[in-house]
Amino acid sequence: MSQIQARFFTEDKRYVVDDVPFSIPAASEVQDLSNVINKLLEAKNASHSKVDFDFLVRGQFLRTSLSTHMATEGISTEEVVEIEYVERITAPEPEECMMHDDWISSVDADAEWILTGSYDKTARIWSTEGKPAMTVAGHTDVVKDVAWVKREGLTSLLLTASLDQTVLLWEWNSERNKVKARHCCRGHAGSVDTISVDPTGTKVRLERARQKLKRQQRVLRLMTLDVCGKHFQFCSGSWDKMLKIWSAVPTDEQDEIEEPADRPRKKQKTQQLGLTRTPLMTLSGHSEAVSSVLWCDSEEVCSASWDHTIRIWDVDTGGMKTTLTGSKVFNCISYSPLCRRLASGSTDRHIRLWDPRTKDGSLVLLSLTSHTGWVTAVKWAPSHAHQLVSGSLDNLVKLWDTRSCKAPLYDLAAHEDKVFCVDWTESGLMLSGGADNKLYTYRYSAQQAEA
């Protein structure tokens, strides 16, 4: 039995061992190595209790025996191998199951409340414990996407996008449990499939806005807004191939829409909820429907489309910055500011990781393949640079670590039908919803995510 010289190190202060090379059998697997570390820790600290570890060799998780792994990765067995170990990520534990009346199209969660959009034309607010708090009804068609805008105290702002070509901005008072439609965002000529809120809450750039907006009234309104402080924007993507940028601040003003008088909109207008709002900016360039938008940072909006491209737009100028071209329809994208990667799910079985900054060379950094159906949702972990979760039409939700690209860390097989949306919160909650009308939440150990 051949031996390999290995040196163990970790960044977790609790589990540091001496920095000396050990000679370990080449055939040892993860469990053997874990036992070795536990023995070492026990020798150092008698009160140590057994912990399962995972091991990284040159940034890749060890999944087979050490010798096999090194042979496949082409690592020389002559030298001392540096092996990093981290505490093993335990399986996410299912917590709650929230029953809806119809398919769940989207979910957005923060630390306290969960917002879901459903095919029964409503959005629902749930507490993280699974208690229904509110049903937001008002759309005339399926709600395709939902998003929290901001939550200050008891008053929250939320957005719902629908197949009826509008986005509604609601104000919700959690104490009185009253919801009120503040604005109806009109302008799209197709179903609004996706919305994304500016995460940084930047100020509206007044000068720019002033140049663009002709009417005195609107300028005045914006000035008042600026005085108020933070100003939110959001972006929406629609089946009409357009991206539109809107203000997300509730006001008492109503934008005017120039409409042909002869169009028989009378009926719809009477039913309309809230004040009409028009887009600040329209970004056009996609040749097919926009399936997913993402507000990456203060000035960048990223959009994925059925025309097989991901485009990155500059919100300041309204111009397109980068185009990433794939070979399949994109269903969803997600961006992680921690590792600065884009993850995309498309109508094949692969999750692809992109570096949005590279201008040339291989755009696809990595393909994660384990799903057997379309990948309909991906989401990066909010506090972990390597983890992401994906949902697919094959009824599975998978938890991935990019350092272990061959196989997912865990398969979550709770759903009985297609999965349409996944999300997770910084408080350690993973959520997934789909065509079986159920929203599942999973708890995973958050402290590991910080490691």
Partner: protein
């Protein structure tokens, strides 16, 4: 005998190693030991005289002093030759009377003298007065004549003595000159085959025989060095291309074969087995039943032509009674057997397959079933995708039309129309949202179902009526009532016209073209050309395709005439699709065939694809990608790659790329309709199992 002589010479040579004279003289002196002295005395002059004479002739012109020294050398030579002592007088032997040398004596024929003696005086010819007659008389009478020799040098006649005659005779016979020499002396065997028990010499072996020789090593190293430096070329290996050894009959054989191209080897006689043995193992011997069976059988049916027998020894085996018969049979075999050469065409089956690109290189095309749209309860006859690609409409025998969201397989709306839906078609104009639905009900009505904004139209025999009340709320906008059952409806590419088919073999009222904006209908054909199966508009030009049972007619709607008639070679056309470029048509038929027509090429099919096992129900072209698909009753959809080129010289490239399966066979029906997504390389298929599949 010559070998023996050689041995003698070798021996004498060894015994006189000090001899330094040239080989001829040396050999002569050797012989002198064999010859008797007297014989030698006479023989030597005969051997050497001419040579010495030549020397003499050279000496003749020299000054006396040099002649003297040369003469003394000559004498010494002769002394050595003859073995005489230095003191003895040599002159009798060297009695050379004539000094002219070895020249033809005819030169002196006309002179009185015959040469010159040593003193330079003329030697006169003896007076010869003998003529031919005297010579003859002399020959007849003189008993010494036969031993008389004419000496040309002196011109005198010499009579040989008896000894001399004997010597000449012996030499002529190849014998030794000396009578006393015994040429058959017993040989002394110096090296015999007998191994002596005692060594000849007991000297121990040299040390040098055990150690490598330095000199040899030096020689070898010199040679090696020379070879390395290229001074010595290693012996060239003879090119044995033709070969010293070759098949002598090789060429001959091929020529024989060439002459006998039709040669067939005779059938071989089977090798004898254990049955034929005189003493076979007992299992080969017949049992009683076997023998009885053998005797009952017809001789032609017998497995063995004889009965195996056992004999204790070979000499008891009797003569083979069937010998003549067997030979005769063999001869019959040889000359009656059919000697016919079967000429086989040796074609590699691989070569017959046309060179087609690999399907891998022709991506994208649909490969896997991604979504299944469930909800219908009857077989789904027809499907259609909205121009934007967001919605899918399907009509089923359960009397409902369903609208599906393509990307999620969600049924967004179900409309009960009160009759089996035969065909649905989405208006290709993206600015209006209209769906035409063919409903087969008791009233036989065709309705244009609209979902969304613009009102649509209806027409009956043709009655048009606006939808009202409940129907309007359901989304119905227009009804066009036909006199007979409608089977298919198609839209023109602009979206203002639609055409409907009422198959009826007896009437000319089979096709109607309706104009939506003016709410008008017309029948373009005044004559019945056969049962119309399906129709289609040309995507660009004002052409109209009408498929009857066996052929497709193309009409120019502007000129109102038939421009082309395509012969499909199939028995019953089921479906037809026109390429978005407008120059190609595919047509599926109930006899499992799919025909591709190149309208610029011919009215015959450019290609017939027979991939389906059962009737082809639907065919479709993709609007953007070079793909077409066919759906069949065998439950499969076959997707083919079909590139068409702008170059008229290049034929379309058709490669079948994928067989898609996903539908369950229900009532012997498989896939009923197939259509492509307008922008993605996806294909939808609707089946008799009440589902719709999306393949991506």
């Amino acid at each position: 005998m010559p070998a023996r002589q050689d041995r003698c010479f070798t021996k004498t040579k060894k015994l006189c190693p000090s001899c330094t004279l040239n080989t001829a003289l040396f050999n002569s002196s050797d012989i002198s030991n064999i010859l008797s002295q007297s014989d030698a005395d006479k023989l030597f002059p005969a051997f050497i005289i001419s040579r010495l004479d030549y020397c003499n002739s050279l000496l003749s012109g020299c000054p006396k002093s040099s002649v003297k020294s040369l003469q003394s050398f000559q004498n010494a030579t002769v002394r050595k030759l003859t073995g005489t002592k230095k003191r003895e007088y040599i002159s009798p032997i060297l009695d050379i009377r004539n000094t002219v040398g070895n020249i033809p004596m005819e030169w002196y024929k006309d002179f009185p003298h015959i040469g010159y003696n040593l003193d330079g005086k003329k030697i006169y010819k003896p007076i010869r007065n003998k003529d031919e007659l005297d010579d003859f008389l002399d020959k007849m009478e003189n008993p010494e004549y036969w031993r008389t020799v004419h000496d040309k040098q002196t011109g005198s006649d010499v009579v040989l003595s008896d000894d001399q005659v004997e010597l000449v005779n012996r030499l002529q016979r190849g014998q030794f000159g000396d009578v006393n020499f015994n040429e058959c002396e017993p040989m002394v065997e110096f090296f015999s085959s007998d191994v002596m028990i005692h060594p000849v010499t007991n000297r121990p072996a040299d040390k040098r025989s055990f150690i490598p020789s330095l000199t040899e090593k030096e020689k070898v190293s010199k040679l090696v060095h020379a070879i390395k430096m290229g001074w010595i070329k290693p012996r060239r290996v003879e090119d044995d291309g033709r070969g010293r050894y070759y098949n002598l009959w090789a060429s001959e054989d091929s020529s024989i074969l060439a002459r006998h191209k039709m040669h067939l080897p005779a059938p071989k006689i089977p090798l004898p087995g254990h049955h034929e043995s005189y003493n076979p193992p007992p299992e080969y011997l017949f049992t009683d039943e076997e023998r009885a069976l053998w005797e009952q059988q017809d001789p032609a049916d017998r497995k063995l032509p004889f009965v195996p027998r056992k004999y204790s020894s070979l000499r008891q085996v009797p003569a083979f009674s069937q010998f003549i018969h067997e030979r005769f049979e063999r001869c019959l075999d040889l000359y009656l057997c059919p000697r016919q050469r079967k000429m086989r065409v040796n074609v590699n089956p691989e070569d017959l397959i046309p060179q087609l690109p690999k399907p891998k290189d022709l991506q994208p095309f649909p490969t896997t079933r991604s979504l299944v749209y469930r909800g219908h309860s009857g077989l789904v006859r027809s499907i259609s995708v909205s121009p934007s690609g967001q919605w899918l409409a399907s009509g089923s025998d359960d009397g409902s039309v369903r609208f599906w969201e393509v990307c999620s397989s969600r049924c967004m709306k179900t409309v009960q129309v009160g009759g089996a839906v035969k065909s649905v078609a989405w208006n290709p104009n993206p600015s209006v949202c209209l769906l035409a639905v063919v409903i087969l009900s008791s009233e036989r009505l065709l309705s244009a179902q609209q979902e969304g904004e613009e009102p649509a139209e209806g027409n009956g025999s043709v009655v048009w009526s606006e939808a009202e009340g409940e129907e309007l709320n359901q989304g119905l906008r227009l009804k066009i009532q036909h006199p007979k059952a409608v089977h298919q409806v198609v839209w023109h590419a602009k979206g203002d016209y639609l055409a409907s088919v009422m198959p009826d073999n007896t009437s000319h009222l089979q096709v109607y073209i309706h104009q939506l904006s003016r709410r008008r209908s017309q029948n373009p054909f005044s004559r019945n050309k056969g049962l119309v199966q399906c129709i289609s508009f040309h995507p660009i030009r004002p052409y109209f395709f009408v498929a009857t049972q066996r052929s497709i007619r193309i009409y120019n709607l502007v000129k109102q005439e038939m421009t082309k008639k395509l012969q499909t070679n199939s028995k019953w056309i089921s479906s037809m699709a026109v390429h978005p470029g407008g120059d190609h048509v595919i047509c599926g038929s109930y006899d499992c065939k799919l025909s591709w027509f190149d309208l610029d090429l011919s009215t015959k099919p450019y290609k017939m694809l027979r991939h389906h096992k059962k009737a082809v129900r639907g065919v479709a072209y993709h609007r953007l990608y070079p793909l077409f698909a066919s759906a069949s009753d065998d439950g499969s959809v076959i997707v083919c790659h079909g590139t068409v080129y702008n170059d008229l010289l290049q034929n379309p490239l058709i490669v079948p790329v994928k067989v898609l399966r996903g539908h369950v066979m229900t009532h012997d029906l498989g896939v009923l309709d197939v259509t492509f997504h307008p922008t993605q390389p996806w294909v939808f298929s609707s089946g008799a199992d009440a589902t719709i599949c999306l393949f991506t």
